[in-house]
Symmetry: C2
Subunit: 167 residues, 2 copies
């Protein structure tokens, strides 16, 4: 009975993971769907953009984490997805010299699929704005804005993020 219960529990856990979805957010104008379960992904790095006063945490799906931890990120392998969660700066109420996450701004994604996105360096781009996760962009041409901004880091496979050093 103990083994049966354990196996049943594992199957339920597996089915829960397999059927997890991204909620009610609609797809981006280029057809990319909000990646399922991205808030549960593991961390790759963080950043603080002082030019636009935002804090960021960069997460990765399993393929991206594997690539980051093995130094296989130039290029990132097909199947990698990077998620950047962005908040407006706010000062910590009890420690004002610490900048901490305030209002949630957006979640944005880079999806590596060399065959699907040859015109933008093998990356599909998408962003969902605000807590209600509204897709960004009036039409599919919004990706030109993303790709243009990432072109200065073409030599790093168009990715600004360098995986943070970890023990």
């Amino acid at each position: 009975m103990t083994l049966i219960r354990m196996v049943t529990g594992l199957l339920i856990a597996w089915m829960t993971i397999a059927t997890a979805h991204g909620g009610d957010a609609g797809p981006a104008p280029n057809g990319i769907e909000l990646p399922a379960g991205y808030k549960d992904w593991r961390v790759i790095a963080s950043s603080h953009r002082e030019d636009n006063s935002t804090l960021r945490v960069i997460l990765g799906n399993d393929a991206a984490i594997e690539a980051a931890r093995t130094g296989n990120t130039n290029p990132w392998p097909d199947g990698s997805i990077l998620a950047k969660l962005v908040w407006k700066d706010t000062a910590h109420p009890a420690w004002p010299k610490a900048t901490v996450p305030g209002e949630f701004v957006h979640a944005e994604f880079m999806v590596k699929d060399s065959a699907a996105y040859p015109a933008t360096g093998g990356w599909g781009y998408a962003r969902w704005k605000g807590l209600d996760q509204q897709p960004y962009g009036a039409d599919a041409s919004f990706v030109q804005e993303c790709h243009g901004c990432h072109t200065p880091v073409k030599d790093n496979d168009y990715v600004f993020t360098h995986p943070a050093s970890l023990p």
Copy 2:
């Protein structure tokens, strides 16, 4: 056969998780062991301490994530563990107004166990320094330094971190 293979695969995955450990790092002087698999924990918040030029990502074990996502953090429930990963600031080479993680400084932990740590607000503290994860503190009294610094946020259960807003 397919079911047997699937169940076998799940059992192997479960055993791998169950036997994961924190590596060769020794325990903290107060006996706390480096929490297993902490680098795989999910994100609660980030911060940028401009007073000492460090970037931080705050992760939580499953109990802490459940508490954070349900607003049950004052007090945090017993079993919660918070992990703070700390890096020295560095400027992004291609975007100098972005501060990104440089040298890894340390990983530090707060372990909520009201029965075990009544003298320090129900929290056990521990820190491991550097990429080689050297335990911090000459003896168990190091926790007075931790607890003293956290006392200004006693009204927030001695925790500086406020879970970041998420969709």
